[in-house]
């Protein structure tokens, strides 16, 4: 009974403190949406992998307030972003500006992709010439012929799958041999 009472008191206390901290966010849903759309493109400097829109850090709160206040004053999105850049540098932008110092950042991944594609193409082209056909030895040839001959004979087509398997096995073994030869 006493613990239940304690739990109730605790729950009320928690509820009260939350109620105190809640902020009147939805006064103006249009403005709020605008604030969030700007905040989504700005980095929170305290928790660097979150946007100002997503972060619950104090600083993010302050900066959202700033955006809200400046929007109310009629400043444009570009002006607000400039305000942030003036204070925190380009780092605050999730979309860094395109300029010579950021070219590697913007072009780098695509350049790397092109290099890899070129490398892959070269590799594939060289591989095509790499594997010359290895002639079968006479014994293998007769064995293969015997197996294939059996399969093509009329009346024994029911056995075909089995024989096909055998033929494949022969092919595989000769391929292995070819590989072994190439290696040596």
């Amino acid at each position: 009974m006493r613990s239940a009472l304690a739990a109730l008191v605790l729950a009320l206390a928690v509820g009260a403190s939350v109620a105190q901290q809640a902020r009147p966010l939805a006064d103006d849903p249009v403005l709020e949406a605008q604030v969030l759309s700007i905040a989504e493109h700005l980095r929170c400097l305290v928790c660097q992998n979150e946007t100002i829109a997503a972060s619950r850090a104090d600083l993010a709160n302050d900066l959202r307030d700033q955006i809200r206040a400046q929007l109310k004053e009629g400043r444009s999105e570009a002006q607000i972003k400039q305000y942030m850049v003036d204070r925190y540098g380009d780092f605050v932008l999730y979309t860094p500006p395109v300029r010579p110092t950021t070219w590697p950042l913007w072009i780098g991944p695509f350049a790397l992709l092109l290099v890899m594609l070129w490398w892959l193409a070269r590799l594939l082209r060289s591989r095509r010439h790499e594997a010359p056909a290895v002639p079968l030895e006479e014994a293998e040839r007769t064995r293969a012929r015997a197996l294939l001959g059996e399969a093509t004979e009329p009346g024994v087509t029911a056995d075909a799958p089995k024989d096909e398997g055998k033929a494949k096995a022969v092919q595989a073994s000769s391929r292995d041999k070819a590989k072994a030869q190439r290696r040596s």
Binding site: L45, V46, Q48, D58, L59, D62, L63, Q66, V85, D86, R87, Y88, G89, F91
Partner: protein, 173 residues
């Protein structure tokens, strides 16, 4: 040597180079665009006497350090002895950031107050103008009112010895 051995070697050296440099940098330190710019103007009340306002303009002609601190900030406590040491060479203005008046007063009484003066930035508005994103942060401001250096995070003994004291001496000359 064949190309196929050289290429991975070169790639490895490049990668190792990037890591060697990149891993030694502090990812939390964001270079401030305010360095070498004029210190943002403010007018803030004194902690001891809230009726009196102080401005950046009043500091003109002096080299000084603006040190953002708060009683709720643990690294501030860590750097406090070094701030005290720094204040022997240059006036350090404490800017009490988002703090309660009585907490700040008690904190200074307990840990010592070597600040030339303590100003109150209750809402953190001046902090925003200075690009503060976590206390403590300190700004060295020259005689013309230009920010010359920003210390992000607590002042370390190395930063004090190798950067702050030499810089203050140079600017004072």
């Amino acid at each position: 040597m064949k190309l196929r051995y050289i290429v991975p070697l070169v790639l490895f050296v490049v990668l190792a180079g990037f890591l060697a440099v990149g891993l030694q940098r502090d990812p939390r330190a964001v270079p401030s665009p305010l360095v070498d710019k004029r210190a943002p103007e403010f007018s803030l009340p004194l902690l001891e006497d809230p009726g009196v306002q102080r401005t950046v303009a009043q500091m003109k002609g002096k080299v000084w350090v603006a040190n953002f601190f708060a009683s709720w900030c643990v690294p501030c406590l860590v750097e406090h002895p070094l701030v005290t040491e720094l204040s022997r060479s240059v006036p350090v203005v404490g800017i009490n950031y988002k703090d309660k008046h009585e907490d700040a007063t008690r904190w200074l009484a307990r840990n010592g107050n070597s600040y030339a003066m303590v100003l109150v930035d209750r809402e953190g508005k001046v902090g925003l103008d200075y690009g503060v994103y976590g206390v403590p942060e300190s700004y060295v401001i020259d005689k013309e009112g230009v920010i010359r250096y920003k210390q992000i995070g607590p002042i370390t003994p190395e930063a004090l010895r190798d950067v702050l004291l030499p810089l203050v001496k140079k600017l004072d000359a």
